[in-house]
């Protein structure tokens, strides 16, 4: 399964709309606005999805080093592969963590290493058991280290309620939740742990 490029483009379009309708944007001078639009156009011309870019190879290398040093973990290649396509996002209460930034850089999405340190320290039973890759108002999304699989965890129990076929399925589901794409078939999905992902059209987990 691949990441759903259509959903990523939709997210990018929404963010562009949010930016242009924001008080911040309206408060920019004409020159500042033109300059910003020029930079966004340049990103698009360079093959970068506007406002929802992937991480650069340098950012990925830094992230790997930080994870080794601070989490004692080698990040799965599948996680790194996804981050090169989409370096995190936050929309409608759904957050995919991105590559942590250096201290002198501004964060725009929650950093993967920082979030894991925060969650491990607050929920000790999860430490080095799960690598958290994202969260929503209802779930944590994580890589279960012992089974090398991707799961949705109950917020309060930190126990798996769903197992995904891979990180791409997990991120596609997060995107669907963030954007509000649902179909009635997802109603049938049980919140209980399943050994195999259900064969449903559209989203396969979203209960939100």
């Amino acid at each position: 399964m691949d990441l759903n490029e259509q959903l990523l483009r939709e997210l990018s379009d929404l963010f562009l709309g949010d930016l242009r309708s924001s008080r911040y944007y309206q408060g920019l001078s004409a020159d500042e606005r033109a300059n910003l639009e020029k930079q966004i156009a340049r990103d698009a011309a360079n093959g970068v999805r506007p406002l929802v870019p992937g991480a650069s190879s340098d950012q990925i290398a830094n992230l790997c080093a930080q994870a080794e040093a601070e989490l004692g973990l080698t990040l799965p290649s599948s996680v790194l592969g996804v981050l090169t396509v989409v370096d995190g996002f936050v929309e409608n209460g759904v957050s995919l963590y991105g590559a942590d930034r250096d201290l002198n850089e501004e964060e725009t999405v929650p950093g993967l290493v920082a979030q894991n340190l925060a969650l491990w320290s607050s929920f000790p039973e999860s430490a080095q058991k799960y690598l958290f890759v994202g969260d929503s108002e209802l779930w944590f999304f994580a890589y279960e280290i012992s089974s090398s699989s991707f799961v949705a965890l109950s917020h309060s129990a930190m126990s798996p309620v769903h197992r995904f076929s891979g990180i791409e399925a997990l991120v596609n589901d997060m995107l669907a939740q963030a954007l509000g794409h649902f179909d009635e078939h997802s109603e049938d999905t049980k919140g209980t742990l399943q050994s195999q992902p259900p064969k449903l059209p559209g989203t396969d987990f979203s209960l939100n």
Binding site: L14, L19, G93, S95, S122, G180, F182
Partner: protein
């Protein structure tokens, strides 16, 4: 600012939002209590008796599903309520209210980041909707009490790297809720719930030293004036914060610093790993005990009658565990897909250009 593409919220949700705001108004009588603990301004500990649910239970699953269906409707109804709308404008600004009107969690664009040779990205502030009494706790009123606007709060969950200072929900969960609901299955215990006296937390993004200043700001936002009870609460909150934006105290959002040692390679074997978890658990228990009274139960153990908390938050018994007057029917309504917002055709007047 209304969103014509979105269906209006139903009457029962509007009535439930109104009930929730009226219950909040009754929660404290003295607004001065808002500043009792500067670490947690505007928070009371609501003593309830509940039982932690088995998270694989049917009840837990149904509560979760029902919440997913009603959340969008709640956000719309809250943004439409006269008091809810003014409080929302104060906390999340016009950009956030626009998203709430379409049934989505509010966020507002603060600025953009444009590091050299890197793509442009949005820097935003995010508020998410959360249950006050966790959905993993069974109470007298059951799901009707848990999935109700009087049990919802919109909380800032903005995270910037190691800095968790704008993530009070994580702070409340880690400090109070997780230690009290962990390892307590099948036991009814007193649980001290951190309950904000505001429906959005923090309620303001800037300080207000006078009621005139607050009213002027609301007017500039195009909001209707707030009833006096809310004005007084906002002013007390601002005073408790020294008229600055609220941040989770450093000692809590920086506890993640220096944990690298604990997770180094030598701690990967199962025995050392368990020792790391035990160390973390002891730290979390110790922090919770500094705030909770003697009959509180942490990790399955009651603190005991001789226990004296170091910090004293106001304790209330709201009674909001019973069935609400305006119940929400669990219909098939789901969140709506959000449409791309259109840019305003006119630049706002200077008096409306409020940075949030």
């Amino acid at each position: 600012m209304s969103n014509p593409s979105s269906k209006p919220p139903n009457a029962e949700m509007r009535a439930a939002v109104d009930e929730a705001l009226k219950e909040l108004e009754k929660l404290i009588s003295d607004p001065a209590s808002i500043g009792a603990c500067p670490e947690l301004p505007g928070i009371v500990l609501d003593r309830i008796v509940g039982r932690a649910l088995d998270r694989t239970s049917e009840e837990y699953e149904q509560t979760t599903k029902a919440y997913g269906k009603m959340r969008g409707e709640y956000l719309k109804a809250f943004a439409l309520h006269p008091v809810g709308r003014s409080l929302s404008l104060l906390a999340v600004g016009a950009d956030g209210v626009r998203l709430m009107e379409s049934g989505h969690s509010p966020s507002s664009v603060m600025n953009v980041t444009k590091p050299t040779n890197q793509p442009v990205r949005l820097k935003r502030q995010y508020y998410n909707c959360h249950h006050i009494i966790p959905k993993s706790v069974a109470v007298t009123g059951g799901r009707a009490a848990i999935n109700h606007p009087r049990n919802f709060v919109l909380v800032n969950t903005t995270r910037r790297g190691r800095d968790q200072s704008q993530n009070p929900h994580h702070f409340w969960h880690a400090l109070f809720l997780h230690p009290q609901t962990h390892r307590t299955l099948d036991q009814s215990n007193p649980i001290y719930i951190p309950r904000p006296v505001f429906p959005l937390y923090p309620p303001i993004t800037q300080g207000f030293r006078s009621v005139e200043g607050l009213r002027k700001h609301l007017s500039a936002l195009g909001a209707t004036p707030l009833p006096e009870i809310w004005e007084r609460r906002i002013l007390e909150f601002s005073k408790a914060m020294g008229h600055k934006p609220y941040l989770v105290p450093k000692q809590f959002h920086e506890i993640t610093q220096g944990f690298g040692e604990l997770f180094k390679k030598e701690n990967r074997d199962p025995e050392a790993n368990q020792a790391v978890r035990d160390k973390l658990a002891a730290k979390a228990e110790g922090l919770a005990a500094e705030w909770l009274p003697g009959d509180a139960c942490i990790n399955g153990k009651t603190l005991g009658p001789s226990h004296q908390p170091k910090h004293r938050l106001p304790i209330v018994e709201s009674g909001l565990t019973t069935e609400p007057a305006n119940q929400i029917s669990e219909n098939k309504k789901r969140q709506e897909k959000r449409v791309r917002p259109r840019a305003p055709t006119q630049k706002p007047q200077p008096s409306q250009s409020i940075k949030v």
